[in-house]
Subunit: 330 residues, 2 copies
DNA sequence: TGGGAGTCTGCAATCCTTTGCAGGAGGTTG
DNA sequence: CAACCTCCTGCAAAGGATTGCAGACTCCCA
């Protein structure tokens, strides 16, 4: 059997309380005693039983992480960030994947919330009502989404989009397309908003191309729509879609960036592996996860932060080979 | 406060024991009583406290999942499988990523083992000694690795490699290269072994190209070595490396498959997105995860299975555009 | 010398479930 | 009618850690 606090107590000739205190509130016990206890605990390989501790403290030492789709290379990076930061503070991460389905998302949260101290919810696709329901129950930090009164860390979409549009404008483009992602995605709405804010004053035309799945196949499907929209540049909701566009353009012998420039969002690993390599708005994926946990842990300490806490991280345009000067008007 | 078993008991006019039994061993209680209890429990939104239950049963309801590197698209798929199967049986998944470092792997396992009922260890890079140390402590299922006396699910590498070699042979190749992955990888050793077993009797020459990191950069780095090895076809440890090769070949104007054929292993999403699309040995990634959990759960039931349990899943060659007939000898 | 402050330590209750054991009710059998 | 069995339910004891409270001891000062 594994060593308990009683075993350590017996071996050290003290009471269990003293052992407990030596390990979790060291200041309260005499230095000499504490040292002896700690050493014996180490010798016996004592590790506190989390269940027992959790029973009394009400803390589990776990945080829940819910992502929409692990197959999208964006999310594993966020997971890494979350996981790394959590471990630094001795928290464990319970991971769940919703497969882009808001219904399972609700179910997963319900299932998870009893076993965690808080939840990090990444790119949630839930309705605001549902969201508010669960955030009332359990301390939740939103990633890539903003809802009033709920703690969140978001990426400065407006600023990123501005960089992208400025780049295109500098290259002489006048009419740019936007391939929209899921309507339920907050980021999608924000990017669209940023796009309008950036194009209108600059006198650029903006053409929105119907919502598609945020996947490679979605991009392939959107490619022909983009071509028929008569744009010289296109910004995709994410890199996966952009990669789909690139693939289909090549198949149709549409030159990139000769005939059309393409910009993605995320900067997933593969964006620099394809050819032409993809110009993209790099999102600080791992940082997003880290900051999310940071915020969560902080909120876990200060009982109530008197209102929602907010963090913002910034993205940066990475210019590669999929963007170039606008083709001369025919 | 959240409802406990006592609240339900009081509301239903029975003892806590009856409530507990109504929910977890329904057969032991009168149908009528059971129904009433269950209904009231539902009304009160009662959810058993896992910590309390775990304290007495010794079970946590969690399983630990340790992967080497989430950034490699192979692993998220495995994670999905594990996660999906676990949830079906009402288990949660604690995820950790080692970053290909055996040292942190040991640490993570130590940290995790107290909080889980069992561990799924995917593509472990630990030494056999270390491995044996941890598997003694905690029920562990290995994925992509085999060590005597330890439950494991593996992919039939020999068979897969045979398919790949047969394909190359049919295309007229006589001298094939193998870009090796991490020396600490069991899969790497197995693939090399399978390669020797498949090439020798067929009279093919096999050239091993030094071990590289199982990443895109690793592949880029290996490309020139491959070219200088004078082979007409190359099999890479995994798709990431193969993609690296492809990238570097293109940069050097080496035609694929005109000058050299390339085969990867894994069939990650991007293998069909590049051009030429990659011929690859498709691994049943998600299934690997599912079967791993299956096995773990089963072992968790039957106290001791009187020896190590084994499962094998099979891979299949997917032929795309990166392989073709061997170039005529010069 | 007495009293107060300060420092440690131990007792015992508590967190919430599960489960072995025993007992009550009702029915069956010899 | 007694003995016994079955079926269901409740009592009470874990399980391992944390923590409020109180006691013991030392030390200092008046």
């Amino acid at each position: 059997m594994v060593a308990t606090i009683y075993d350590v107590a017996r071996a050290a000739g003290v009471s269990p309380s003293t052992v407990s205190r030596s390990l979790s509130v060291p200041d309260l016990v005499n230095a000499e005693t504490r040292l002896r206890v700690q050493q014996i605990a180490a010798e016996l390989g004592y590790r506190p039983n989390r269940a027992a501790r959790g029973l009394i403290t009400g803390r589990t030492g776990n945080i829940g992480l819910i992502v929409t789709d692990l197959s999208n290379p964006f999310f594993p990076e966020v997971v890494k960030g979350v996981q790394g930061r959590a471990r630094e503070s001795d928290y464990s991460v319970l991971l769940a994947d919703t497969g882009e389905d808001p219904t399972v998302e609700v179910g997963l949260i319900r299932a998870l919330c009893k076993q965690v101290d808080g939840i990090v919810l990444c790119s949630s696709r839930m309705s605001e009502t549902d969201l508010r329901g669960v955030t009332g129950d359990t301390l939740t930090v939103l990633l890539n989404r903003r809802v009033s009164k709920v703690p969140a860390v978001t990426i400065d979409n407006a600023d990123g989009i501005r960089q992208a549009v400025a780049h295109l404008q500098a290259l002489g483009h006048h009419r740019v397309g936007y391939v929209a992602g899921p309507r339920t995605s907050w980021s999608n709405r924000e990017r669209l908003r940023g796009l309008r804010a950036a194009t209108t004053p600059a006198g650029l035309d903006l053409v929105e191309v119907g919502a598609v799945a945020p996947t490679f196949a979605g991009g392939v499907a959107a490619a022909d729509l983009v071509l028929s929209a008569g744009v010289t540049a296109v910004i995709a909701y994410n890199d996966l879609i952009a990669l789909g566009l690139l693939n289909r353009f090549r198949a149709k012998n549409v030159s990139v960036p000769g005939d059309i420039s393409v910009i993605g969002v995320d900067d997933i690993m593969f964006s620099e592996m394809v050819s032409p390599s993809l110009t993209t708005l790099a999102q600080p994926k791992e940082q997003l996860g880290r900051v999310g946990v940071d915020l969560l842990l902080q909120l876990l300490q200060d009982a109530d932060p008197s209102g929602a806490a907010r963090r913002t991280v910034t993205s940066q345009l990475v210019i590669r080979s999929s963007t170039g000067t606008a083709p001369p008007a025919r």
